[in-house]
Symmetry: C2
Subunit: 428 residues, 2 copies
């Protein structure tokens, strides 16, 4: 091949700038590896008047994103963000006009991935989104290709760098969530709407994409159960550390028979497990397959370079001629999966109770565990200076999640309970 692959970049923010820089700096190497020259011929940007460090001479600057679908391009690269509006209209139109699409937009893929994949199939084009999950880690390629011979049983990962930064920093600096959040804001680490990160919405977008790829199911963002990190306290971090764990916000997908679990939740991770040592803004994903066992991938989850690396990898794969359905299977073959009932999910749990410091309370709450047939693994009560309540921390043996929730709900209603119990899953 000696033709040139013509690229349009919609969005010239952090990721767009990184993508353009990689394509330029490594033009010769990329052409050699991809077998084709790759050239950015058109761009759009939110604010054309904003001063930019990059040289855009020779590149057509389009007045609006959607106009890009009408240009003479082989690939439209959508780096605008937002799951509706211009990004959705551009990607839809670009596919309709027979262009391949590369996107880093997890919200778009999580919300509209199925419809867009069907459109890509109809027009025999590629829709690729490696950059939408875990930045520079080639996790989508791994699920689609490298681990494709496996029946996947679970994928779990640290998928949001902001949350991981906050949780890491809380323990390092011995600071509360609110203090670290405020500092992160000052340092410019937060999105305009930090809820996207800290309430687990961003991680949930990625979870729904991973679930579809891992299990061949229809992407189902609405089906992701989601819990963020606002309620994580330094006190729980200390207890977790004492027990040999770190608290991490995990995105988890599991399949048991026909039932699918999709969840974002803070978990206790054993300090010796690979995910425990993933700190700051890094991401990591562990995949469990029936043949391969556990494989773990770790790398930077965001930023111009890492995300640009993933975008350009998708472009190069298109250049080389790799063709595959966006969610591994043709959309007609993607299965609908029922949400998993919590009573089918087994695991160990960490429970912190705030109880009146008076005789008989141990007997009261342990009765609730017994009623649910929950076997206690360890129990610690410590005197906390300046705190009139008794802090009791329990870890359980394997039990089912519905039983633990019932027990905790019952304990919450006990007369001896002075603050809502904290319930966290132990990720093993």
């Amino acid at each position: 091949m000696s033709s040139t692959l013509r690229i349009g970049l919609a969005g010239l923010g952090t990721v767009g700038g990184g993508t353009l820089a990689i394509l330029r700096e490594h033009a010769v190497m990329i052409e050699a590896r991809a077998g084709q020259r790759i050239e950015v011929v058109a761009v759009t940007m939110r604010d054309p008047k904003k001063p930019r460090a990059m040289d855009l001479s020779g590149i057509k600057i389009l007045p609006e994103a959607e106009a890009m679908a009408e240009e003479d391009l082989d690939i439209v690269v959508e780096l605008m963000g937002g799951h509706d509006g211009a990004a959705l209209r551009l990607v839809t139109r670009a596919l309709e006009k027979g262009k391949h699409v590369v996107s880093a937009n997890k919200a778009l893929i999580a919300h509209h991935g199925l419809r867009l994949a069907a459109l890509a199939e109809k027009h025999d084009r590629v829709l690729a989104f490696e950059a939408a999950v875990a930045g520079g880690i080639p996790i989508i390629a791994a699920l689609r290709n490298g681990l494709a011979a496996n029946r996947i049983t679970r994928v779990a990962g640290i998928l949001n760098g902001t949350c991981n930064y906050i949780l890491t920093k809380m323990l390092d600096a011995e600071a509360d969530f609110d203090a670290v959040l405020a500092e992160a804001g000052t340092l410019g680490y937060l999105e305009a709407d930090p809820a996207l990160d800290i309430d687990g919405i961003d991680a949930a977008h990625k979870v729904s994409i991973l679930a579809s790829l891992a299990f061949g199911t229809v992407p189902n963002f609405a089906g992701v159960e989601r819990q963020g990190i606002r309620q994580i306290t330094l006190r729980d971090m200390y207890y977790a550390r004492d027990f040999g764990y770190r608290i991490k916000l995990l995105g988890i997908v599991e399949k048991h028979g026909p039932a699918l679990l999709q969840r974002v939740e803070p978990c206790l991770v054993p300090v010796t497990a690979p995910l425990a040592s993933v700190s700051g803004g890094f991401n990591a994903v562990e995949v469990e397959g029936d043949a391969v066992g556990r494989v773990v991938f770790e790398g930077r989850g965001a930023g111009a370079g890492p995300t640009g690396s993933a975008v350009v990898a998708d472009i190069m794969a298109i250049a080389r001629g790799d063709r595959y359905p966006p969610f591994t299977l043709p959309t007609a073959q993607l299965a609908s999966a029922a949400a998993m009932d919590a009573s089918y999910r087994l695991g160990s749990y960490y429970i912190r109770l705030s109880l009146r410091d008076e005789p008989g309370v141990l007997a009261e709450f342990t009765r609730e565990f017994a009623a649910q047939h929950i076997s206690v693994k360890s129990i610690v009560q410590r005197e906390i200076a300046g705190d009139k309540s008794a802090q009791v921390v329990v870890t359980t043996h394997q039990t089912n999640e519905a039983a633990v929730r019932s027990a905790v709900a019952a304990i919450q209603n006990l007369r001896c309970t002075v603050a809502p119990p904290v319930l966290l899953r132990i990720h093993e």
Copy 2:
């Protein structure tokens, strides 16, 4: 596509059996993901009389491996091992006869990869060998596709599970190398010739393959500098631990300008680094790219399931139609690289000296460091019960490798030195 991809499996040992089991158990899922039915229609095995658990009915059993090249097959899967003899003849002949080849044979690819890749190009066939490096970890796909937008600066990994098992076990069981080696032999963990593992030859095969993929250079197994683990003592493991490190056998490739470093050597890895916590038979590979930063992959490095997973992934990629040069670039574009001069390599080092326990020896050896402009970071001398020599452990700041080697050679010749110094690089 609705045709059937016809597979011949040469070798029905651990990996061959694992490959056949995956293809059978997951036949429906694999067909859906690969877009084609994949069927094993012919096999060969070293000893056809050996009882096997698998059912081979309906599969043609060929009397000798080379006959497979003449069969009506789309892909020949070579799982025989050995870098010469029947494996080489089969792969050569299969490519000449227009068959794709998938191989798990690192020795074959390390020794003959360039010639075989040229043959694959000539006949427009795929030569794939994901299973040859790091078992189930899709590291070759990552270098070829997922991280292809990066200028790679270094790849370093734990590439031999046997060595990693021995090193892990030595510290866990507080046992010497010889004792753990003997136990591993009794447990059946060792190859017929354990030198392949413990002298780093197996890791060197993998290093030469990784170097070619990462840097676009001609595979050059003869150019791998190699040091095994026979000389690693429990004493050095204890010292390393005291300083916050673990000793790991690493395969390392680096490129500085036109010069290439390929090496297998035991190194000290900071206990907080991902590679430090890779234990037992696991493998791990860290890749550093200019855009993506550091990405780490961890998983099982051997065994029927993990290696079979990689073999089947290669088969599925061929079925889907992915086509690429075996070493990422066409063979004519692979560069020859000069070996890196040790004086260009910077790093920190661990040096253990066995010295006469008498006045003046510190002055004597520190003079040699000063002469080479080596800056000492830490120095510890401890009294060892029952040992008449003084054990002095030094770690250095960044310095060049040639200087450290010169200093150590000079110290070895000092009158006060009673046993050869131990020199290990600190991997950062």
